[in-house]
Amino acid sequence: MNTPSQATPPLIIIGNGMVGHHLVEQLIERGATEHYRITVFGEERHRAYDRVHLSEYFAGRDAQSLALCDADFYAEHGIELRLAEEVTAIDRDASEVITERGRYPYARLVLATGSFPFVPPIPGHERDHCLVYRTLDDLDAIRTAAADATTGVVVGGGLLGLEAANALRGLDLDTAVVEFAPRLMPMQVDAEGGELLREKIEALGVQVLTDRATQHIEDGQASRHRMVFQDDKVLETDLIVFSAGIRPRDQLARDCALEIGERGGVVIDDRCLTSDPAILAVGEVALWQNSIFGLAAPGYQMAKAAADTLLGGELTFDGADMSTKLKLLGVDVGAIGDAHGSRSPGARTFRYLDELKQEYRKLVVSGDGRKLLGAMLVGNNDAYDTLMQYYSNGLELPEDPAALIVPSSEGAPTLGADALPDDATICSCHNVTKAAICESLDAGAMDLGAVKAETKASTGCGGCAALLKNVVDHELEARGVEVDTSICEHFAHTRQELFDIVRVEGIRTFGELIDKHGASHDHRLGCDICKPAVASILASCFNEPITDAAHIPLQDTNDTFMANMQKNGTYSVVPRVPGGEITPDKLMVLGQVAQEYGLYTKVTGGQRIDLFGARLEDLPDIWGELIAAGFETGHAYGKSLRTVKSCVGSTWCRYGVADSVGMAIRLEHRYKGLRSPHKLKFAVSGCTRECAEAQSKDIGVIATEHGWNLYVCGNGGMRPRHAELFATDLDDAQLIAIIDRLLMFYVRTADRLQRTSVWRENLEGGLDYLKAVVLEDSLGINEELEAQMQTVIDNYECEWAGAINDPEKLKRFRSFVNDARPDPDIIVTEERGQLRPA
């Protein structure tokens, strides 16, 4: 943490939107907190959030999950974030910004005030329930207005208009889009593409009215409003959202006489400096070479240049490509470069229209047919990545450019990674070039994961994942690195392949597997990689006790002794406490056992109690007492379900809407003992306050008034990942069926020691694919997955109960086979009233 002294010059940033936040991140990364005392003003009550995914607010996401950083991110870096404090003026003579609460001096000032939605001056636009779509507060207002509405209209059929239409659909309103131009998305698509887009969007139940200029809005007869168009036709609706473009929020700059463009926007140079060199501007308020950039990516590039400028660097903003790849209301739309061909005299076009599949593709190529100048895609964006590479890197087109958009039996020719020049941008979110990827490989990154961690490539929108993998594989191969997916030297198979072999051939022991499928005839012992992996696979398939003679040599020590080895060779014991609910009697038993065996006790993050320092030879006696008191093993040692954390829920909490503890206990009992590629953590929250922190778990369940919302593939720990909303408003049976399938699909297909979060990120096709498999049964395996889960559940038995009744298994818990003496090297000392390793 930095605590710059009062002498450090103050830097003020006005605006805490996506670009303003990115600027702060850039500044932190460059160590600017050493050189500036930074204050950020945001007029909204929320800290920076993801406006790109705003429509998900109505699909269950909240301000917290849309937030771009943790609540204490700014404070941690010594940056003051003043939310809900609007800057009302800039006094350039005094170098101060003025808010309702005071005056704040600056040495440097950055305007990141963004834009506001343009509301056409139609008479009646100021009526109640005529709203805009820009901020979370706007969305709250829309939600409130929608409460007693049945119909909604969006004025504006552009990108944001269609996003807003999606939001209205999410509120169950009969939705219509009114566009002034003759087609939807006039900036991105042409007449044919627009027609196709209209068909697809109307098929979703959204009415599309183009060529309509609203003349005025008046009281409706059946609804709140009546919109009257140029031809006196009318449309009645309860709610109107204006989304007819954006305008830069340049009022502060106008008031203090900074140079403003003719049509608005604060004029900046290549280093993001305004006409006053103490003041910079970035994002949608900034006007660079007479252009406003209304997308996040160019704003980020400006932020990067501005951060560099503030630190005396030379980095410049050189404009940005406005090519976009979108999924609006589920419909793919892509526009690259000069998609209309209007800026390129002499250009020629290729067009492909399939009215059956509803796909439209268009190429704009140079007069000689050698370079791609632009492209347009509706209905299917598969060709986008390849076309973008041709466009942005000026690659020579194939002899017949049409092959790039016409379906062929061999599939479209994909662009080989070797055809890309070094300066080819692979990841546009983080501006990672092919050269940067090669550099990270040269510096020692040996696989895709390492390259992603090193360069951040493909960690933004993820759109370049396939291309990045292609480049990395190709470059590794070029460096003589064979991309070997074998699990270890004993099997030339991936974990997934081994899983399929075991399942299909019904193989039940490691010995049989290595005899039939081992990589070598001589090396048959296996190793600490493949043995636990195969043990886990066998357990996932058949769930035989891991302590059986055939399986015991495969297990890691924690599984062998069903406890967690600590650094001095003793073990910790964690009995299952389902849902974190425990009776006073059982709680006392834990205390008594800990006292009797001198165990250090600590409450875990998963709402149970960990007893540390148990000697190997004491484990059976400890478990004898625990089992007699009704406990069973907690699998804290296994790659398996750990806990289902819960809040107290509707039973006690005045906010709870469902019995979260009851559901947590039910889930914990259902999935306990499921061996999986890595540990699994669940949580169930009884309301959207989310006290159980379900959105950081592999499986997170949150109660709503309409049922359960399921979040998946989250993670805490070293690499936190927010869980993604997977399905909403589920009843108990639906929830369990979906978790059954998802978990078993993970168990089947993940790599060893791959948590659900990384598995999900590496899944080709991403969340949509996972939803298709689990919710729509696109692979036709759901019945099988559910049946397999049922087998595991039916075969569950407490491993400890099985062990303490089996003299053969108990022999394993002797510290020494020829002496009952305890290990004298285990030495403990007392600290804060408990024993710990000396």
Binding site: L525, P553, T557, N568, A820
Partner: protein, 124 residues
């Protein structure tokens, strides 16, 4: 149960009987006390039935953690040579000579071991 205290301290190596075959765990390890010329020691015994060498005896003490845990590691082979992986920090030790594969400077003590009928014996 056999104890090792009867072994006389002597310069001549002798075969001590530690336990019986039934005390061993196939394809895994158990720990035992032994008397050596330098005093008592904890030894890890690994039993690989059907393998060219069926019985190995190496130090039970893990030099990286100082804990007596080597017998609780996973046995396997690395490029054809039998090894045990430390259960704590996962370094591999060759069972033949105790050499650590990750650190040339580290080697576990080893002792010749054999099965005489059902008796597990070690040469100290």
């Amino acid at each position: 149960m056999t104890t090792a205290t009867a072994a006389a301290p002597t310069m001549t190596p002798t075969w001590q009987t530690l336990c019986t075959r039934a005390d061993l765990v196939a394809h895994s390890g158990v720990a035992a006390w032994i008397e050596t010329a330098e005093g008592t020691a904890q030894v890890a015994l690994f039993y690989l039935p059907g393998h060219a060498t069926e019985l190995y005896a190496v130090d039970h003490r893990d030099p990286f953690s100082g804990a007596n845990v080597i017998a609780r590691g996973i046995v396997g082979d690395a490029r054809g040579e039998p090894v045990v992986a430390s259960p704590l920090y996962k370094q591999h030790f060759r069972l033949d000579d105790g050499q650590c594969l990750e650190d040339d400077a580290i080697r576990l003590r080893t002792w010749p071991a054999r099965l005489e009928g059902d008796e597990v014996q070690i040469l100290t």
